[in-house]
């Protein structure tokens, strides 16, 4: 099984662990993900707020590259926001010939053209669940996650609004639950499974964002989850990196690690935590992983040399 691969900006760095673990897992499953050469940012949730046609053109450049590089007519995106933007652009270009014409006129300035409908964009989870299948995944499990209480967290954009077709119920999805059960984990009921992680609200209104994160943490804690498992780098970032801030803000003391589903898959397949990028979380995953007998080395994963805290460098500013 060969697919084009669009990692998206997050997976380059802030969610490198997602990329790392995804690569390890797909290799085990016999999936070939070939990265699209020279892809660009999808614009996240920001570009559509500012200027519509450039926003579509930005996304469409990726579709055109995927189309032209001929890796596969299917393109896998592990990030839900990228997945949404790519499917949305393809869908709207298909529905509106005017939009398609305009976008293509813009693309022509870069010598590109995209025929809507050529590239089928898929989320990594959906590929694993539908193309590989639960049975094939089950066959690879060598170290089942027995005893680990998992809250399967989908977030929004993988299930809503379904520009790329309905993959799972937009209100009460279950695919990730099933996958986690296949890995041997105990999946807790998690009513807020498809609620929003706060998205970019962390940058706009922390109070609002923190409340949204709190709800999710509380719900997972209420059901005594050991770990929250996610399918999106934004969700992971918000729930993990902001967990201390949320605790501070509300006076709570949640310590629920947030891992990518590929990391748990990797563990179940017997991969080492390090090769899955475990150890990069803000909220320590070790207590949770202890339950399934996965020991993390005491030293953290190798990383860049640290800089003195006080010397936080300012990046070079662009002219405008």
């Amino acid at each position: 099984m060969r697919y084009g691969y669009y990692p998206g900006c997050s997976l380059e760095r802030s969610a490198a662990a997602y990329h790392q673990s995804a690569m390890a897992v797909v290799q085990t499953l016999g999936i070939d993900l070939v990265e699209i050469d020279d892809w660009n940012c999808c614009g996240a949730t920001e570009y559509f707020s500012i200027n519509l046609l450039p926003a579509y053109a930005l996304v469409a450049r990726n579709l055109a590259l995927a189309q032209d590089q001929g890796i596969s007519n299917q393109l896998v995106a592990p990030c839900s926001a990228c997945f949404l933007n790519l499917t949305k652009t393809d869908r709207y270009m298909m529905e509106s010939s005017k939009l398609a014409a305009d976008v293509n006129e813009a693309l022509a300035a870069g010598g590109l053209h995209y025929t809507p409908g050529t590239v089928r964009v898929r989320h990594l989870l959906e590929v694993i669940v539908n193309d590989v299948g639960y049975d094939a995944v089950a066959a690879r499990v060598s170290k089942p996650l027995t005893g680990l209480r998992v809250a399967a967290y989908y977030g929004c954009l993988i299930v809503r609004p379904g520009y790329g077709g309905i993959f799972d119920d937009p209100e009460h999805p279950t695919a990730l639950d099933k996958l986690m059960r296949v890995l041997g984990a105990e999946v807790v009921d998690f009513p807020l499974r498809a609620q929003c992680c706060g998205g970019h609200m962390t940058q706009i209104s922390q109070e609002v964002a923190f409340e949204m994160i709190r709800r999710l943490l509380k719900n997972a804690a209420d059901y005594e989850a050991d770990v929250i498992v996610t399918v999106c780098p934004m969700c992971q970032l918000n729930l993990d990196a902001y967990q201390p801030n949320v605790n501070q803000f509300f006076g709570t003391d949640y310590t629920i690690p947030v891992l990518y589903f590929t990391q748990l898959m990797g563990l179940a397949f017997g991969a080492s935590p390090i090769e899955l990028g475990i150890g990069k979380e803000f909220v320590d995953a070790r207590p949770a992983l202890d339950k399934i007998g996965v020991a993390l080395p005491l030293t953290e994963a190798p990383r860049r040399p640290e800089r003195p805290k006080e010397a936080l460098p300012m990046p070079r500013m662009e002219e405008e």
Binding site: E171, H172, P191, L192, R215, K218, D222
Partner: protein, 670 residues
């Protein structure tokens, strides 16, 4: 080309047509068309003076064809056909050009409208030349009637017809008649006890000599046409001999197998494997549910047989296939309630204390599973707060776009019943609009307001058990926007009731296919006219009544049942019915027996004679759609009043002004 003498009449319709179309000009222009001997315009052609004009011309000028350019043929085609007939001209030698609805009312552009009117008149003139005199077809009416569905609509219709002295076959799929109404506790707004008013009617059905009640039965096929239908009914095996059974109920008592009753008790209660849906069931005979019966599943038990005092249990019983001859059919197959599992955010099936409206009906019913006690799913706890959510599965393009019409009122009824039984409980009604539009409905709404129910305008976004704030723990939290204050809010309650909308029966499309009816996009049957002919269908001889036509409350269903019965009685009393002669006919000399047409007819009106190798249209069965006419590759099938040459001539006429490019070849075959 022929000797026909055509009269053309262009109607002003006051200013309705003349305001946009230059009618005088059209009339003068039409006078020059081939075969036209007189062409007039007149203020109101449909007035008696206008009609007299036509009659006079037919008689005095010897017209052999008439064209009236006026309104839609659906409006006045019959009028002018009658006009022709009065003057001694066969009514089918008339053609109408619709220059009002399709022309003057659809544009402001006078020049274009006039040009279009000319095209339509020209088309009618060319077409009418090829018209042939036709006769209406008389059909005898069999006085027996089939009624499908034993809910309140079907029961009403059956009693009306039976009481008029004619025989009725009442077919009901469930073991008992009664329908949804038998499940209800009280009926709004009068709060009559549903069983008290329905049961006597059910008993009347059982006792009426003119009614053959076929419960636990289904119609499998319908053949024939108005006046002469042959209906195949499968009478499923009950495994209880109706001749011997006294309905004592000992078998039910002794049956060891308890089953959740998904039908009558809406899943809230239990029944046995041999059962009667409810004590007052009509007929009184129980049925064995073989998929749950221990004997049928494992070959042992027979407790019912052992205890039956009249030896009525018969495990060997087989389904019976009955052939019924009837003249008319009334479909009253009712509705289904929306399945709320389709809206996961309301939590039905996941959250124990979310109930459906039908569950609540059974719960408040004194004869229901809780004996009328209102409790949570644990069967013990009394709720202190109840939220009733309106429009579940209704007014929602994701599910059903239509308003189900009854939910507002039964929700109000629930509020009232909750107040009556649990005076301490707080009741909330979440609504988009309160639709209380029939007699005494608005008054009932006011009464419920006065009783202290809190009305919150806002469609509920979700019901969850995920507590967010103190006070929410252990409750169901209803999240919504109170649209009257424009704020998002959350309300913790003990119980949620989902007011389910009405849907067409899940198998309504299959039923429609058996009976040759049309369904709307949402599965409800299409009536002949939504206002003027609501119980008739496009298929002659088949009426519809009750909620299979669209969402409606009991009084309307009863009225429709009676209306359908009146329709049937009127046909029976006429003895014969005259039918439009728009029918297909196969010229046996031209038919090559290729059998292309054989399975095209939705009414099975085409038969193939294996001996002569030709197909034939049974005129009485044909409805005149023309599908076979168009398909016949030998031009052996003609469709009366819509023949190839008529339509071809009409096309030529329509395009009289736009043939700039070619001349005709004189050598063409026609």
């Amino acid at each position: 080309m022929n000797e026909e003498r055509i009269g053309v009449y262009v109607c002003h319709c006051g200013s309705n047509i003349a305001g946009t179309v230059a009618v005088e000009e059209v009339a003068q222009w039409a006078a020059k068309l081939p075969n036209v001997v007189v062409s007039r315009d007149y203020k109101f052609m449909c007035s008696s003076l206008g009609q007299e004009l036509v009659e006079k011309d037919i008689k005095e000028l010897g017209l052999t064809r008439v064209v009236v350019a006026a309104c839609s043929p659906h409006m006045h085609e019959r009028t002018f056909r009658a006009t022709c007939e009065r003057a001694g001209l066969n009514p089918f030698l008339f053609e109408m050009a619709n220059i009002r609805e399709l022309d003057s009312w659809a544009t402001d552009d006078r020049a274009a409208a006039t040009q279009k009117a000319k095209a339509m008149v020209s088309a009618a003139v060319r077409r009418v030349v090829y018209h042939q005199p036709l006769q209406l077809l008389p059909v005898k009416i069999n006085p027996n009637t089939l009624i499908v569905g034993g809910g309140v609509a079907g029961i009403t219709a059956a009693l009306e017809i039976a009481n008029a002295g004619y025989h009725v076959y009442l077919v009901e799929r469930e073991p008992s008649i009664g329908g949804h109404m038998a499940q209800l506790d009280k009926t709004f707004p009068t709060l009559d006890c549903s069983a008290c008013i329905l049961t006597p009617k059910m008993v009347d059905v059982a006792q009426n000599k003119n009614i053959t009640l076929l419960s636990w039965s289904q119609v499998e096929a319908v053949e024939g046409y108005v006046g002469n239908f042959t209906v195949t009914v499968r009478k499923k095996a009950r495994y209880v001999n109706e001749e011997k059974c006294t309905g004592c109920g000992i078998c039910i008592e002794k049956c060891p197998k308890k089953v959740i009753d998904e039908v009558f008790e809406a899943g809230l209660g239990y029944r046995k494997a041999i059962y009667r849906p409810f004590p007052q069931a009509v007929p009184k005979y129980p049925v064995i549910d073989t998929s749950n019966c221990i004997f049928f599943q494992r070959g042992k038990c027979k407790a019912c047989q052992m205890f039956c005092p009249t030896d009525a249990i018969d495990f060997e019983q087989q389904d019976q296939i009955l052939k019924l001859e009837v003249g008319n059919i009334i479909l009253a197959i009712g509705y289904d309630t929306f399945d709320p599992r389709r809206i996961p955010q309301y939590g039905y099936g996941r959250l124990a204390n979310v109930f459906t409206s039908l569950e609540f009906e059974r719960m408040v019913n004194a004869a229901g599973p809780t004996g009328g006690r209102i409790v949570l799913r644990d069967g013990v706890t009394t709720p202190k707060s109840v939220a009733i959510i309106h429009c579940v599965g209704s007014r929602d393009k994701n599910y059903n776009e239509h308003c189900s019409r009854i939910c507002c009122m039964y929700s109000l009824k629930f509020s009232h019943l909750l107040h009556e039984r649990l005076p301490d409980a707080q009741v909330y009604e979440f609504y988009i609009d309160i639709r209380a539009t029939a007699k005494r409905y608005e008054e009932f709404y006011h009464r419920v307001l006065e009783e202290g129910t809190r009305f919150i305008r806002g469609r509920v976004a979700e019901v969850t058990d995920a507590a967010r704030m103190p006070g929410e723990e252990g409750k169901l939290i209803v999240q919504y926007e109170d649209t009257l204050i424009g704020k998002q809010r959350r309300l913790p309650v003990d119980m949620v009731i989902l007011s389910l909308g009405m849907e067409a029966r899940r198998d309504s499309r299959e039923v429609a296919q058996i009976f040759g009816l049309g369904c709307e996009y949402n599965g409800f049957f299409i009536e002949r006219h939504p206002k003027l002919d609501p119980v008739n269908t496009m298929t002659e001889g088949i009426q519809i009544a009750g909620a299979c036509q669209g969402p409606m409350a009991i009084p309307e269903a009863v009225a429709q049942g009676a209306a359908a019965a009146a329709r049937v009685l009127s046909l029976i009393s006429q003895g014969t019915v005259m039918m439009e002669p728009v029918r297909a006919h196969i010229d046996a000399d031209k038919c090559s027996g290729c059998r292309i047409c054989n399975n095209l007819c939705p009414y099975n009106a085409i038969v193939f004679h294996e001996d002569r190798k030709v197909s034939e249209v049974i005129t009485a069965l044909c409805q005149g759609c023309g599908a076979c006419v168009a398909a016949c590759p030998s031009a052996a099938i003609t469709g009366a009043h819509f023949t190839d040459e008529q339509v071809m001539a009409q096309i030529e006429g329509m395009l009289w002004d736009v043939q700039p490019q070619f001349a005709m070849t004189s050598m063409e075959t026609r």
